[in-house]
Amino acid sequence: MNVIVCIKQVPAKIKIEIDPKTGTLASGGVDRAINPPDLYALEEGIRIKERTKGKVTVLTIGPAKADESLREAIGYGADEAILLSDPAFEGSDTWATSHVLAKAIKKSGQFDLVLCGKQSIDGETGQVGPMLAEALGVPFVSLVNKIEELGQISIKVMRMSDEGHQLIEMMLPGVINVVKEINVPRIPSLRGLMVAKKAKVPVWNAQELGIDPAVVGSAGSPTRVVEVFFPQRPGKSEMLQGDPESQVDQLVEKLRQTKAI
């Protein structure tokens, strides 16, 4: 089975700082890592490859530095990795991101299954997986917590739903996004890390992907961030003192006053 895993490089720490002079994200000098939820997609892709004697290709969009995360993915066991990089992609929203990924997947050849993480820890939209599926014209299942059966023309997956879980059969090719419950990611092997170091990681730009720069990046995205700000914090916590009995009495009183209960 030909599996494609889409990953995102994100700040390694989610405690972020804003440059007080410019009011923009102070992202320079911040350590970056593979988006943690994507590691479950990567692990599942590698497991599928091992069961079906297939191939795992990892894609990401980002600057030259994102090459590190792709090599890390090879260290885990991915076979190939492609960096989608072009100044024109900068500031892409979820629509433009899925547009670029869809073009790259079509260019990379025949595929059976695309795996994405549930959402990124920075943007937190969870939209790229389903948007990518629609852009590719293939089916999609969200929040998959188990792959029950891998067939030639379809797969059976368990997904989290409103009432609990649903067992769904999806025709291939298709896209799924996965949740943490699906597996426990392995640790990269020493051999894997050696392979990763030497691996060739091609870079595809907008022209090679046949992408009109006007429809991607901040200029081409349907949505635009016009302002970022810190949420207002209600001030310091009020610590309730005394013995447990008195603490509980104070709490119940406070919650009543605020009509929280």
Binding site: T125, P130, I168, E227
Partner: protein, 333 residues
């Protein structure tokens, strides 16, 4: 479509067992306010068959109620819903489409957006009308709630946003308000569904849905072992709250993953969040720090959970939690 007005505001109204969810009613109320400010109309779009409270949707503010002839809830199929919504949106051209964050929003809404060649502002907590530019300004958290972003659609329409449950308060219905009921016939044979629902497994442990609950009681590593979840479960029951947890109890197999709140679990934003024995790792705070009132109970006064807490109690949770349960139970008689 051009960006010369807000246009009709659609709210995807979700039902369970024939009744519209509270979050959908709240969203219709918000849409009503936006429509009054912008001289637009509100339409509720019901996807499921057999909606028993369609009249109520008008009472909460819908000028129109679309009743789509979708499959029965137990035959749920995203492919059919996407196709129905796309066809209807192409025909009646709404300016705005709103839906509640959740499992529909995780699949149907983004696919609808791509099919209509527009974007999505996901998991918003606030929506405002910008009269000067005649567009919506969507406010959404990012980076685990530590940053807010205002998002607009400069020219693409419809503007599509998903909104977190509890972002807006459910208003009071006005029973004199009437709405136009529009049945939409849909030729289901025109859809080649590429997914098929084979089975539904109901979760019996999750009595109250975590992502929809007004109150969440969360038990963390401080509980020590699986058996001790009973004391937080009792508190949850008295409050009619959902039961949440942090990552360590899930990893240790004390409680199913469906209960996990945080970066790799669910994001919740209830009116009241009671954290019992939760240290407050950044990954956990990312999933709950936008809650309205946060109560933290922990024996370690330096636990980071106290940094986001509204009310903090340093002490033994095994004494405090049962006492709280007892007092609340007595108060309820």
């Amino acid at each position: 479509m051009t960006a010369d007005g807000l246009g009709d505001i659609w709210v995807v109204a979700e039902q369970r067992d024939g009744h519209t969810k509270a979050a959908s009613y709240a969203l219709i109320g918000k849409a009503r306010k936006l429509a009054d400010e912008s001289q637009s109309r509100v339409a509720a779009v019901c996807l499921s068959q057999g909606v028993e409270d369609a009249g109520q949707l008008a009472a909460f503010g819908a000028d129109k109620v679309y009743l789509l002839d979708g499959p029965a809830p137990d035959r749920w199929n995203d492919d059919v819903y996407v196709k129905e919504l796309v066809d209807l949106a192409r025909r009646d051209k709404p300016g705005v489409i709103l839906a509640t964050s959740g499992s529909v929003a995780s699949s149907v809404i983004p696919r609808l957006a791509v099919a209509l060649d527009t974007g999505v502002a996901a998991n918003c907590i606030s929506l405002d009308y910008d009269a000067q530019n005649r567009m919506l300004v969507q406010t959404r958290p990012a980076f685990g709630g530590s940053l807010m972003a205002n998002v607009v659609f400069p020219d693409k329409r419809p503007q599509i946003a998903t909104v977190r449950p509890h972002a807006f308060k459910k208003g009071e219905p006005n029973s004199s308000r009437q709405g136009e009921m529009i049945r939409v016939d849909f030729d289901r044979r025109s859809v080649t569904a590429k997914t098929k629902l084979l089975n539904v497994v109901k979760d019996l442990t999750e009595k109250v849905r975590l992502d929809e609950a007004e109150i969440v009681v969360c038990g963390g590593r401080g509980l020590g072992k699986a058996e001790n979840f009973g004391i937080v479960a009792e508190l949850a029951e008295v409050l009619g709250a959902a039961l949440g947890t942090s990552r360590p109890p899930v990893d240790d197999g004390w409680i199913p993953y469906a209960h996990q709140v945080g970066q790799t679990g669910k994001t919740v934003s209830p009116k009241l969040y009671i954290a019992c024995g939760v240290a407050g790792a950044p990954q956990h705070l990312a999933g709950m720090q936008t809650s309205e009132i946060i109560v933290a109970i922990n024996e370690d006064p330096k636990a980071p959970i106290f940094e986001v807490a509204t009310y903090g109690m340093v002490g033994d949770l095994f004494k405090i939690v049962p006492l709280l349960t007892k007092k609340l139970r007595e108060a309820r008689g």
